[in-house]
Every structure is written in structure tokens, then in C-alpha cells.
Symmetry: C2
Subunit: 347 residues, 2 copies
């Protein structure tokens, strides 16, 4: 275990924040980071174009001893091909932030920018754990099922069975470490509970999950996010990303629907509070972000549209991941996969 | 065009109803069918075990001249392999019902039973349209987006691009014929709007959709069910089925959440009505069923858990499909696909 993984006893956890990433960067990112520095036991390294970041700090009423600026040049945006962009922009904020992690100058990195860029920077600069082909993103994504971990939400498409098995193992590590579930039940998301139901990818994964040491409960279906059949629900990032964005859209639409349906029937402040609750339970990711699963360091990616509260929430998530030694837990879980050759078969 | 497709001028539309299919069959199916016979311009052929069906009719206070019983033996259940079950149970209700269609004794078939069995019976006994490899299920599935057609919801996994193109064309036929949208916009469900985003299946389909004569608007994402970017959203049945069941689960969970959150804050009758509305907008399929796309006859499959109102709703859907000549519209749309060879490439 490295020093940064363990945290440094007695000292604040040091979180590098990609100040240039996100739809409202650097403004809301700096605002959220300053808020976190005020309210959480963290030191913040704001990584970004120095002038822009310092202007935002000044606008917010000035910094504090626990906030430092680390200069970078430019940023990688959603539309760019992540790996190519890393090559062409070696001083981009997310790259510099990841290097702070690598050099042990930060314990965690938080970015609201391109998820692909954060994943690529993490995988290429820090390396993946246990021979994983690619990292992924997991965690609870739905306020109505706050202890159910969905993995992958990180848009890993066309996943082979061994990769899904690795995702599942890390989902269990997350569930055990951050949600305190001792023996997480793992379900494969499919179109029927029977073993024969599903596409080729699910069929292959089913066999491999069955042979593994995971607490595999078989296939689960779309409604099983609400039936407590599994603690960790595994799908590829194609399905996961669609579910995530669909849920956000549906939450916003439902909130709008309630606003109209209840107008005049409920006191307006109660209605406001209800509507914002409905929005929040369907937009958990905007409140707390989610850690990358499978890179050799703590990187939390937040939603691009996060507000400053969301940025502070993601910083809090990063702090908790470091304190709970999530990366170490991923590593243990991956190496405990019974069939040692399973992950080797992935590529 | 056959007589049954056009309907018979001046006469009631004849709907065969699979009395044995569904979670609460034959009880609620018979109840729903009798209700339809009372309130809609339809003649009903109740296909099922004679004794059981007649007992249900008697229990409901007796039949009417527009309701006849057609005897069958046994039923095919969800757990069976559809094609094998068709072979082993040639007198099962869904088989006899499909034969009524084939023989021109019914204009449409409605079943709340195994979707796979209805699809297999339709494909094998009636044949598919335009050389389609497999039929699918489409239609609006979400009350908050009542004019957006999702196709496929019928669990067709691992779909090749030409099959998805056929699904898309039929989605357009449905949109034009039943939802009165003259030039439906077609979107491919993916993880990003850019052409490069998606899995292999989406990449292949993207190229083929682009070359076709469809009004293709490119990739759409999970939130685009609510952004009016496309009238027809195309995915394979793996993703479609997961979305459908997830939506049902989420709707029920949201209804429960509101019930608790608003208890005592809203008059109880208003709350009841709101909660049931929320449930209904997320369970559209339980109210009206959906037609099979791509078989040579009108077959409407309803949700297994439908109540009698849902059965009557599915019968109404079947009647409308016959009146609007949906099957003819599917046939025209498939044959109008610009690249004639596209569908031939599917298998």
C-alpha cells in the first residue's frame, strides 16, 4: 500500500480538483472546491489555467491556506477522442491532476470533465489493477435504491465476460467497503431470470460468474433494481449509460409532471421541496459523483452538469474512498477471483 | 390485402382472445373480453379450455351473442422454449387463436400470455413480412412520452443491422398510421450523439440507417425519450426489455415514494389519484398492449399482469390496428426501404 492510498495519519486528505472540467467550469468547480475546503477535512489542489482559476477564487471572496492552485494548460472536452487528446494535450488539467496522484502529491483526483479522458488518464498514467483491460464506473445511481451498485456506467461497450467479471468483483468491493454489505449478492442484468435468457454476452458471463467465487444470484431484470434481489447489478457500459441518462431524463420529466399535477393542491413550498426531492433521487450522480473502478489511484468523476454542491459532494466521495481504502479493496477483490486465469482470458 | 386485414365493411371486427394467457387467466381475461364486447364494436372469440372459460363467463353473469368460445387444450407458459412448446402443444390456446387468424375466422388475436410463444406462433403460422428474420414489438411505452415509439421491446437479442433497419421501418409505419406523425424521425439509441459513439451493433446500424430512405436523425441517448429528438427510437430487444421493466419498477417505486412523502399533506383522494396516475404513466403496456411488428396478421400482446381493463385495452388496440390497416402499412414501409438488398443481408 502506498502512502497516498492509506492517507497520511493526522493530516488532511489532499484532493486534486480538475478546475477546467465540467459544463460550468471553472466557475462552479472553484466554488464547490472552496466550499469543500471550508466544510471538509481536505486540502484542495485546484488544477487549471492559473489566471482563470485565480479570478474565480477572487470572485468567491478569496482562498484559504488549504487551497492551492496548480497550473495546467487547456482541457480535454467530451467530443475529443480521449487517448488522442491525452497525447496532444499533455498539460491539460486532467493530465496534470492525474500526475499529482502518480507523484504522491495528491491522494485523489476529482473531475467533472470528460469521463473518457479521466478513464484514459487513469488507465494510462496510473495503470489498471489486476490486469484489467479497461477501468469502469460503478456505484449507486438511484436514490430509490441507494444501496444497489450498478456497474458499468462508464460506457465500456462490447465487454467480454472476463471484463464483466472484473467489474462485478470491484462492485462487490465497493458494496462491502462503502456500503457495509458483507457478502454482496451479484446479479447479471438480462431480459429474464432463467439461465437461458439473455444475449451472447450475458450467456458467456453467466457461466464465468457461476464458476467464480462471487455470491452470484443469477440473472436479474429491469424491475429488480427495486426488488432487493442483488446488491451489485452488472451490465456493460452501453446498457448502464443508457439507464443512467434515461433515469435522469425520467426524473426531470416526473418532477415537471408533479409540478403541474399538484399545482394549487399542495402548499407551494412543500411542492418545491417534493419536486426537488424527486429530481434528486433520480440524479444521484449529480450529487456525489462516482469513483473509477480499476485504476491504481482514487479518481472520482462527477456529472458534467453538477452545481457547486455536486462538486463538493464529489470531493466528499473522493475523501471517503481514500479513507476507506477503496483502491486496496478493489485490488484484493480482483486477486481473490477464484479462477486466476479468468482475467487473463479477457483480451 | 386479405379480407381480414381490411376488416369486413359494416361488420364488427372479430378479435380472438387467448383466454388462457396471462398471470390471472382465465378469470381477468374473460372479464376483460366481456367488457370489450359490451363497449366496443367487436365480436369476441374466447379461445381456451372450454369448461374453464364457460365457468368464468357464467360467473361474470353470462355471455352475449357477440361472444363465442373456441375450445383449445392447454397453454404455453413463459418458462417454456416457444418453438419447442408450439410443437409439443399444437392445440394450445395461442396456437388455436393464431390459426383462427390464418383461416380468416378472426381479424386479430390478443394474448396476455408468453410473448415468445405469440411471436413464434405468429412467425411460424402466419409468416413474417418482407423477408424479416424475426418479428418484434414496438409502440409507445411511457405515458410521459406517449407519442415516442420504442422498438424492439420484444427481447430480440443480438440483432444485426438489417434487422434493426426493418424494426425502424415498421416503427415509422406505426408512428404514421396510429400516431398520425407524417415523417417520423428515427433515432438509434446509443451512449452519445456522435456517430462514433456506441457498440459494434450501433456502428453497423448507423451506416445502414444513413444509407436508407428513413428520416434518420442519428444517435439518441437515454434522456432523449424526453427531448423530442426522435419519434421512433430503435434498440435491440435486450436494451428495450430492460428499459421497459426498469420503467415499470421505477414507476411503482416512485408511486410508493410519493404516497409516503405526501401522506397527510394532500387530501387522501387526490393522493390516491396522483399515485395511480404516476403508476399508469410508467405502465402504459399494462393498459393497452402492443402489436407484433412484422408478422402477416394482427397480433396484440398484452402484459401478463394486466387487469380486466388492460385486457379490454389490448382488444381496443387490436381493433384499431385492424381498422388502420397497420399490417398493410408495415408491408409497404418494409418494401419501400431504399436498399432492397438490405433486408436480404440480415441473416
Amino acid at each position: 500500500m502506498t502512502e497516498s492510498e492509506a492517507g497520511r495519519p493526522g493530516a488532511n486528505i489532499r484532493v486534486a480538483v480538475d478546475a477546467m472540467g465540467g459544463d460550468y467550469a471553472p466557475h462552479v468547480v472553484v466554488e464547490g472546491a472552496l466550499e469543500a475546503a471550508r466544510t471538509q477535512p481536505v486540502d484542495i489542489l485546484l488544477v487549471g489555467d492559473r489566471e482563470a482559476v485565480e479570478a474565480e477564487i477572487a470572485r468567491a471572496g478569496g482562498g484559504s491556506p488549504s487551497v492551492k492552485v496548480v497550473p495546467s494548460e487547456g482541457k480535454i472536452v467530451e467530443e475529443e477522442h480521449p487517448v488522442q487528446a491525452l497525447r496532444h494535450k499533455p498539460k491539460a488539467s486532467v493530465v496534470v491532476g492525474t500526475q499529482l496522484l502518480k507523484q504522491g502529491q495528491a491522494d485523489a483526483l476529482v473531475s467533472m470533465g470528460s469521463t473518457g479522458a479521466a478513464m484514459a488518464a487513469g488507465a494510462l498514467l496510473l495503470g489498471t489493477l489486476g490486469g484489467l483491460e479497461r477501468p469502469c464506473i460503478g456505484g449507486p445511481f438511484l436514490g430509490l435504491a441507494p444501496k444497489t451498485v450498478l456497474v458499468d456506467m462508464g460506457s465500456n461497450v462490447d465487454c467480454r465476460a472476463p471484463l464483466l467479471l472484473g467489474f462485478a468483483a470491484m462492485g462487490c468491493a465497493f458494496s462491502r467497503t462503502l456500503l457495509d454489505i458483507q457478502n454482496p449478492r451479484v446479479g447479471l442484468l438480462s431480459v429474464g431470470s432463467e439461465e437461458a435468457k439473455g444475449n451472447r454476452q450475458v450467456h458467456d458471463a453467466y457461466q464465468m460468474f457461476k464458476e467464480s467465487n462471487l455470491n452470484f444470484v443469477g440473472n436479474v431484470e429491469g424491475m429488480d433494481f427495486f426488488t432487493d434481489k442483488a446488491d451489485v447489478i452488472v451490465c456493460d457500459g452501453f446498457v448502464g449509460n443508457i439507464l443512467l441518462k434515461y433515469t435522469e431524463g425520467l426524473g426531470a420529466a416526473t418532477a415537471g409532471y408533479l409540478k403541474t399535477a399538484l399545482d394549487g393542491k399542495v402548499p407551494s413550498d412543500a411542492l418545491e421541496s417534493l419536486v426537488s426531492q424527486v429530481w434528486e433521487v433520480s440524479n444521484l450522480g449529480k450529487k456525489m459523483g462516482g469513483p473509477l473502478f480499476g485504476v491504481n489511484g482514487t479518481i472520482v468523476v462527477g456529472h458534467g452538469a453538477s452545481d457547486s454542491e455536486g462538486v463538493a459532494g464529489a470531493i466528499d466521495t473522493a475523501r471517503r474512498c481514500v479513507e476507506m481504502k477503496l483502491v486496496e479493496s478493489f485490488r484484493e477483490e480482483l486477486s481473490a477471483l477464484r479462477s486466476e486465469e479468468l482475467l487473463a482470458r479477457q483480451s
